[in-house]
């Protein structure tokens, strides 16, 4: 990633982060004060220290104090699987359809109106229907993720394909490319920056809809952890679950960018 901000003078890592660290430090300070003896009780908001211990235990099982000790990996794996399947479904349908709609007038006229109409139903609105169709659990979750991820991927891919410069297509034609090779060697790479932003938005949404799906009642997954903890009144586990999802979301975004960077789409065999 390139750094587009103008930097006056060189600073160390602390110097760069310095300003950004002030707000979190203040927040943690206020949090510590409010949970001090005589403040908020444990069942409303645990102290920073207690939460840190629970987080550590959730990951590494050092306390052996509850069923949540060391449970992170099992739940994270279950959730990641659902996100991966739903997201890949959305990408495999969204990218080709979007690119085709953005570059072929007839495809756009055929599908775009319908897709835009379906898009105006909010993602959560699909929950009741999904529960009727797929029951409670993994299938519903994957369906919701795929549904939510499809639209940003489709819209961005179509937008990217639409804005591929005509002169690139003309150049490819006069260098001997046919329509299909122009699709794979000009439209796909030309639209790629836009496709990538669609994929990133979709992946972010995937984690949101993962939680929604898992709240409906599945035995494992981070959403299920949060929901169970709420019923058991364990606020610390709720917060640890939220942190875990944020962590995985961020991690999967980096992973996506890494994989796309390694992909061969920008290479010609020369």
């Amino acid at each position: 990633m390139t750094d587009n901000t103008i930097n006056f003078g060189k600073k160390g890592i602390i110097g760069k982060l310095g300003l950004g660290l002030i707000l979190p430090a203040l927040l943690i300070g206020a949090w510590g004060l409010s949970t001090a003896p005589g403040g908020l009780p444990e069942y409303v908001l645990p102290s920073p220290r207690a939460l840190a211990l629970t987080t550590w235990d959730f990951f590494w099982g050092t306390l052996h104090s509850s069923t949540y000790s060391g449970a992170f990996w099992r739940h994270a794996l279950a959730s990641s699987e659902r996100v991966a399947v739903g997201f890949l479904l959305a990408a495999f349908i969204g990218i080709p359809l979007g690119l085709a709609a953005g570059s072929i007038g007839n495809v756009e006229r055929l599908v775009d109106m319908s897709i835009q109409a379906i898009r105006s139903v909010p993602g959560i609105g699909w929950l009741p229907l999904a529960m009727v169709w797929f029951g409670i659990g993994t299938k519903t979750t994957v369906f919701l993720i795929a549904m939510a991820g499809f639209f940003p991927i489709y819209v961005n891919s179509a937008q990217g394909a639409r804005h591929v410069r005509i002169i690139w297509k003309q150049a490819a034609f006069m260098l001997g490319a046919d329509r299909w090779t122009i699709f794979t060697t000009v439209i796909l790479p030309g639209a790629m920056p836009s496709v990538v932003s669609g994929l990133r938005v979709a992946l972010g949404l995937s984690w949101a809809y993962l939680v929604l799906g898992e709240l409906t009642g599945v035995p494992d997954g981070l959403g299920a952890v949060i929901m169970d903890a709420r019923m058991l009144g364990q606020v610390d586990i709720i917060i640890v679950g939220m942190i875990s999802i944020a962590l995985l979301g961020r991690l999967s975004d980096r992973l996506l960018l890494f994989l796309l960077g390694r992909l061969a789409w920008r290479r010609e065999i020369v």
């Binding site: 690139w168 003309q170 490819a172 006069m174 260098l175 001997g176 090779t181 790479p189 010609e268 020369v270």
Partner: protein, 279 residues
């Protein structure tokens, strides 16, 4: 078919082009009117004209990006119907693929033609050297200057050994020094591998430095006003450019261009084209 008999490799015959007027009343807007033009095999012909006279439209028709309303274009005795690698185009704008390196841009046409890996490697290297870009083969277009990009653009069409090279004001966006060196490069390349070139420009000096045959176009609707032969010695150095002969041809061209509407005269005093084209 008079033009076809003159040993022309590229023949533009009675080409007219009109667009539907954007006012939506179905009126036709004539852009080109009965254009006739011929470029002999191995000749570098220039097309000069005021901006908006339809030069680029004509080149797009030859390239196959647009179809003429009437008339036809022949390249190597084949009628043009659509773009193809037998006619290489160098555009005015940067038209390189930014996601490919210099080498990959140059190899693009060879890959499409299904050449072997070794041949592509060898040819790409040779043409990188031809346009003087050794050491830049793994650079991306964004890392190159405007002049270097046009070198790549030239190499990536020459490598396909096209029948004709079409150049649409390729050096217009460059600074004066770079433009001069690109003109030299083009002449050098043209000297080593004689190409049939149709070169569009609005710059009279450029046309005189490059070409032995200059077609002057007029606007509204565009047609060939006159065909001028340039019999000046090569290379056309600063000394040649100061000779009375050179200045006489230049004066003639400038006068023609002024008549052609470069000064923005009202339409009715723009001269009409000879009825039978440039014959």
């Amino acid at each position: 078919m008079s033009l076809r008999d003159r040993g022309c490799l590229l023949v533009i015959e009675e080409v007219s082009k009109s667009y539907e007027s954007p006012n939506g009343r179905g009126e036709l807007l004539a852009v080109l009117k009965r254009v006739n033009l011929c470029v002999r095999s191995g000749q570098l012909a220039c097309l000069v004209g005021p901006s908006g006279c339809g030069k680029s439209t004509l080149l797009n028709i030859v390239a196959g990006f647009e179809r003429p309303t009437s008339g036809c274009v022949l390249v190597n005795n084949r009628e043009v119907d659509g773009p193809g690698s037998d006619r290489g185009v160098v555009f005015q704008e940067d038209a390189l693929f930014p996601w490919l390196t210099v080498r990959e841009n140059i190899g693009y046409g060879l890959v499409r033609a299904g050449r072997s890996r070794e041949e592509i490697r060898e040819k790409a290297s040779r043409f990188i050297r031809l346009v003087g870009l050794e050491g830049f083969s793994e650079f991306y277009p964004d890392q190159l200057s405007g002049g270097m990009k046009q070198r790549v653009a030239l190499a990536r069409v020459l490598v396909n050994e096209p029948d004709a090279l079409l150049m649409d004001e390729p050096f217009a966006a460059l600074d004066a020094l770079t433009r001069a060196s690109m003109q030299n490069l083009l002449l050098e390349v043209w000297g080593t591998m004689p190409q049939t070139i149709l070169f569009i420009t609005h710059d009279v000096d450029e046309a005189l430095i490059l070409s032995e045959r200059i077609y002057v176009m007029t606007a509204g609707p565009g047609c060939i006003l006159e065909e001028v032969s340039v019999e000046l010695p090569r290379p056309r150095t600063m000394e040649v450019m100061a000779t009375p002969d050179f200045l006489a041809v230049k004066r003639k061209l400038v006068n023609l261009l002024e008549r052609a509407g470069a000064g923005g005269q009202p339409l009715e005093i723009i001269p009409t084209c000879p009825v039978d084209g440039n014959q």
